[in-house]
């Protein structure tokens, strides 16, 4: 009951925060002087293409870019009706991308699920690698296993992502026939899902997952190891041993749960940091994720597009922190969020 109430309360705060964040995001993307259309207009003017200037002017009015900033914001969010029936985010209208000359929803559509796919793969990879390795490294601390895991982890950390990707692509292609770049073989693009397509996607995901995931995995592994080492000396671990549990189960059930606390706290950061962390990777590896779109949109001040993507990432972050706050209570029943003497 309490947890349910807390979750609902937390959801409320999330919406509130989202509102604040939306104001800030809007402000930030409008921070650089001008906007896409005025830049375009200036450029058209400078190069004497008056014809295009008129068109851009028209778009400016169409999307209320000539209004004061606060009105623009309200229209963008959908609190105020825009000119010509332009409605805002709340009504599900994400606006128009000037750069791509298409509605925002159309552009981000594909990339969104690819982003989620790539990052999900990376998150899965991180957990699948880091969890067992971190636990083993702690249980067998100061052994060859521990040192090897640390070494490989740091090797991954110390290699710049792009270099790592190049190495993996190059040798992966040479010796294993792995594909270079992309997220699926081009022939499957736009085809309905099939077994072969899935295989192709998985094959293409190997290197990006590895590249995006290694740094996260080794970071998580080392921290987990440290936290586990702290727990291993505690009496409750001895109790569990005295019960005759298998070490692997014992570790996973008791100390891991305590050691996991800092990681649950950081769940909120997992997706967004990978989204933004994978921007550069995506750009250099040619993945059709949201990252390159965002970069492009930001550079050209394509405000509806960048605004939507940023709001999306912000939403992910907020949902993540919300989940992590709720999970924390579930993970550790002692945790209360009340004040110290409340």
């Amino acid at each position: 009951m309490e947890i349910l109430r807390y979750a609902i309360y937390r959801f409320g705060t999330m919406l509130l925060t989202l509102l604040v964040v939306s104001v800030l995001i809007f402000w930030i993307i409008n921070l650089p002087p001008g906007d896409y259309l005025s830049n375009q207009i200036a450029e058209f003017r400078a190069s004497g293409q008056e014809s295009l200037v008129a068109k851009a002017e028209f778009l400016r009015q169409e999307y209320a870019l000539d209004k004061p900033l606060w009105q623009q914001y309200l229209i963008w969010m959908g609190f105020l009706p825009g000119p010509h029936g332009f409605s805002g985010m709340l009504q599900g209208n994400f606006g128009w991308s000037f750069e791509f000359d298409r509605p925002v929803s159309e552009i981000v559509g594909d990339s969104l699920w690819l982003t989620v796919l790539v990052n999900l793969a990376a998150v899965l990879f991180v957990y699948m690698v880091a969890l067992p390795l971190g636990v083993i490294a702690a249980a067998k601390s100061r052994t060859m296993i521990d040192y090897t895991a640390a070494f490989i982890g740091y090797l991954g950390l110390a290699t710049p992502n792009f270099l790592l990707a190049l190495i993996l692509f190059y040798y992966g292609n040479k010796h294993l026939g792995l594909p270079i770049g992309g997220l699926m073989a081009p022939e499957y693009e736009g085809m309905p899902m099939s077994w072969d397509k899935v295989k192709s996607i998985l094959l293409h995901l190997i290197v990006p997952t590895f590249v995006i995931g290694t740094s996260g995995a080794s970071a998580m592994m080392q921290r987990l190891r440290a936290n586990m080492l702290d727990e291993l000396g505690k009496p409750y671990v001895e109790t569990a041993v005295a019960k005759g549990m298998r070490p692997s189960r014992m570790l996973a059930k008791y100390p891991l749960r305590v050691a996991f606390n800092p990681f649950v706290a950081d769940i909120g950061n997992l997706l967004p940091s990978m989204v933004s962390g994978s921007v550069l990777v995506s750009v250099v590896l040619g993945l059709q994720t949201i990252g390159p779109v965002l970069l492009q949109a930001l550079k050209s001040q394509d405000m509806f597009l960048s605004g939507f993507v940023l709001m999306f990432v912000a939403l992910l972050t907020l949902i993540g922190t919300m989940i992590s706050d709720v999970l924390l209570v579930l993970l550790d029943p002692r945790i209360r969020y009340e004040g110290r003497d409340g």
Partner: protein, 382 residues
């Protein structure tokens, strides 16, 4: 064995024997000394610590150790592979020497063909005059520990595409890579620990406020910030100054992650009985956080700090993509690696990727140092 099957100890018995006294000296030993004593027994940690100390102490004197200057080019020897140092020439001991190299462009493969001249060994000179440098950035000097013999080159780890000595550049690069990045870590740790512990320990309204700030900070995109910065940084700022600012900003943006971990852990730790006990004794909040909560999260903090180091050293490689990283003529490992980010460096000139090695070595050293520290702070290992 006495009567009725009973065992009775027959040693003389003194009930109050041996209430051992501790030596006053030990009692007065400050805590760090005890930790240090323990740390000394952690071989790997000790070695790593000494190694790092050595590295840092050497930073002001890299000019002396490096045979070349950081941007000294040898147009005749581009992409020279690492040169090995020999001791025996045709069975005769000559002391350390090298064979001079001649490089020639192969117009078929477009690689440089490097041929050693096996006839004329040239001895490496020691304590010799070479290019000018400044000890600790202040005292000018020309004396180098060792230099290339006249008319020959000495590229211990090869040369890059402009004919610069990679070994020397790595040494000079350490000056930046080992220092500036750490500032960001410090900033982020100070902020993260402070806000995290306040939020976690006090909970309630303070926690709420700090958490909303964290959420907002987290939700705000970094990318536009970097883009804006890259346009806004004044052009005539030195690359190091730009990098300095950036690493501080990196630190400022980085703290929420740590803060959330600290908070979560403290929310749980503050319910522990010993925290209650300390509070009941009247310990101030600051004291409880410092003396009771933080030590119990030390392992995580140490591990996190170690892990941030490669991220900070390499952070610039990602940023230079946006035109914000360090750039020539400043030398850092990140800059060097940036130059190596292409296929040719992997396949044809692998030595240009050598800067990865010092990064790994440094990070591993920090890791083992941290591990040693962790162990010597761990009561269960005492």
């Amino acid at each position: 064995m006495t009567q009725d099957n009973r065992y009775v100890d027959d040693a003389p018995f003194d009930a109050d024997a041996s209430l051992r006294e501790v030596e006053r000296k030990d009692l007065d030993a400050p805590n760090w000394l005890l930790v240090w004593r323990k740390f000394r027994t952690h071989k790997l940690g000790l070695i790593s610590g000494i190694f790092l100390l050595f590295c840092y102490l050497m930073l002001p004197f890299v000019g002396f150790v490096a045979p070349y200057g950081p941007n000294e080019r040898d147009a005749e020897h581009l992409f020279t592979p690492p040169q090995s140092i020999h001791l025996f020439h045709e069975g005769e001991f000559l002391g350390p020497f090298i064979y001079p190299l001649t490089s020639e462009a192969d117009m078929e493969t477009f690689q440089w063909i490097v041929k050693p001249d096996l006839e004329t060994p040239k001895q490496i000179e020691f304590f010799c005059e070479g290019s000018k440098y400044h000890i600790a950035g202040l005292i000018p000097s020309r004396t180098h520990l060792f230099c290339a013999p006249d008319g020959a080159t000495l590229f211990l780890w090869g040369s890059d595409r402009l004919g610069r000595d990679i070994f020397s550049r790595i040494l000079y690069g350490a000056q930046l890579s080992l220092t500036v990045g750490l500032i960001g870590i410090t900033v982020s740790f100070v902020l993260g620990i402070f806000f995290g512990s306040v939020a976690g320990y006090f909970g309630g309204r303070i926690d709420w406020v700090i958490n909303r700030v964290i959420e907002v900070l987290r939700s705000l995109p970094e990318l536009p910030l970097w883009l804006a910065l890259s346009a806004a940084v004044p052009s005539n700022w030195s690359p190091v100054a730009v990098f300095f600012i950036i690493s501080i900003i990196l630190g400022i943006l980085d703290w929420p992650g740590l803060a959330r971990s600290v908070r979560a852990k403290f929310l749980s730790l503050r319910e522990e009985e010993y925290v209650r006990a300390a509070e009941m004794m009247g310990a101030s909040s600051g004291r409880v956080i410092r003396k009771h909560l933080l030590p119990n999260f030390m392992s995580h903090l140490i591990a996190s700090a170690t892990l941030s180091i490669p991220a900070m050293i390499l952070g610039e490689t990602a940023l230079s993509f946006l035109g914000l990283g360090l750039r020539a003529p400043a030398v850092s490992w990140g800059v060097m690696l940036n130059d190596a980010q292409n296929l040719a460096s992997i396949e044809i000139y692998p030595w240009t990727a050598i800067p990865m090695l010092p990064i790994i070595v440094i990070v591993l050293a920090f890791n083992f140092l941290g591990d040693g520290l962790r162990d010597s702070l761990d009561p269960y290992q005492q």
